[in-house]
Symmetry: C2
Subunit: 257 residues, 2 copies
DNA sequence: CGCCTGGTTGAGAATCATCAACATCTGTGG
DNA sequence: CCACAGATGTTGATGATTCTCAACCAGGCG
């Protein structure tokens, strides 16, 4: 009903891309994401070495799992196209969403410690995934110092991100949490040369609530309120950020409403 | 007032220890913590190599900083004696405690990503710290594969821990959060051969509240309630777990009170 | 001795969860 | 192409947990 003329965003809308993101003949050197993904710190020859250990399989359908909690840990995964949610089941059986992963992002590193996946991961939409066997990545890292360093940095970033999320859950109101998530997704889209203002949320309201420590109802109410305030345009999962400044103001609690 | 006959716990009460934990002539080979700390996966010769890069300075007094947010990142740190809290300051100036670190635990890894500390760390009591220059640790890891692997595991563990905490903040009541923290500290004491039932909390109520996303008042009330229920003995920072099973029941929400 | 920090306890208020009804969307099969 | 069922999302009314504000207490240190 609302004015979303932008088509649903996929990774294939770049005219110059000779290969589709779901094409599993791609390699790191021709991947559009190689400036933000694992190869970031490597020269061409090194990328080729990395490329040789990476496994690319057919795209995963919505709902299919990359891995499941408590399974043996073998690999970490990079999202090439689509999107993935990671979640874990607590002792008393409730689900906690621990992260959303977009193209160029790496997940599964929480399994390294115990050699067993600490969480599950499933595709939120049809997704292409690069599987990186960790044993081999470790060996390669011994020969390519910049790869070792970059992987350390990647894990460190995950720690920092989790800590920021922790603060969000610990200190911030429902409005602030939702605003922060939207800004995070917006920024990550921008990094991938997509629109920072108009995008489609890959996850359900339930997942958002679960991730942010809120109920579905609260999330829904916040979206409605933001729309009424003229900050957002909301049409189901299609979001447009109308007033970024206002959204930022909400996110860091400096709004005065 | 209450019946705490146990002396305040320090790291020096083992009669067999020939060296005091605050002695900065110690090395990894004679450190009581070498089975739970970084050297864990190494043989004696390798520990010696590790030892050569580690810097041990005079003990830090309560309140002194190991490092500060936004400073250049140089090293990660292992706690040898005492205890440390890590915290970060958000954009709008509020403090968030992100972790408590006890002897044998490693902190500072969130600084690797940006080559700049993402948080600050200060001693909660007089503490001895091992400083591990990260550049050198990386180099050493290239020559000692098991060290590389162990450090990957350490970072992975930090990610898992943060995610567990996230779930705690997102899904659990004040009672559950406090119970979980107490059980965590108890378990970590046990790992160091200390009493799992009687210990002194190194952090203030304020820090506990901050860490758990609660106000001081709420934390205080929970302690009082636990004491009235006969689950805990509380005498200021001196804690005794009277009924572990009950505490566990509270922590995973299976209590029926 | 008295101040100051840290901790406890109480009363009232606010945010968000819960319960419930209803609307909308998706996809399936007739 | 339509009809329907189940899943997903929205909105409203009520209530519980936790926060806020405030007073008070205890201990450490100058």
């Amino acid at each position: 009903m609302s004015a979303h003329s932008a088509p649903a965003q996929t990774e294939i809308h770049t005219p110059a891309a000779s290969r589709c993101a779901h094409d599993f003949q791609v390699n790191c050197n021709n991947c559009r994401l190689n400036t933000i993904c694992l190869p970031l710190a490597l020269d061409i020859a090194q990328v080729e070495q990395l490329d040789r250990i990476i496994q690319r399989s057919r795209p995963l359908q919505k709902g299919e799992h990359l891995y499941r909690q408590d399974e043996d840990f073998q690999s970490v995964f990079a999202v090439r196209a689509g999107s993935v949610k990671a979640y874990s089941i607590t002792d008393n059986g409730q689900e906690q969403v621990t992260g959303f992963y977009l193209p160029g992002e790496v997940l599964g590193m929480d399994g390294i410690a115990k050699n067993r996946h600490a969480s599950s991961a499933r595709a939120m939409e049809t997704s292409s995934i690069c599987e990186i066997p960790f044993e081999k990545l470790g060996e390669l890292s011994l020969r390519i110092p910049s790869l070792q360093k970059h992987f350390f940095q990647l894990m460190s970033q995950e720690i920092s991100d989790d800590q920021r999320l922790l603060t969000l859950l610990s200190k911030n109101s429902a409005d602030q949490r939702v605003a922060a998530l939207l800004l995070s997704i917006s920024a990550r889209n921008k990094r991938r040369q997509l629109s920072a203002a108009n995008f489609r949320l890959p996850m359900s309201r339930t997942d958002i609530g679960n991730y942010l420590g809120l109920t579905v109802e609260t999330v829904s109410r916040v979206f409605s309120r933001f729309q009424k305030m003229g900050v957002l345009g909301v049409d189901n999962k299609e979001i447009s950020i109308v007033d970024v400044e206002a959204l930022r103001a909400v996110a860091d609690g400096s709004e005065n409403a």
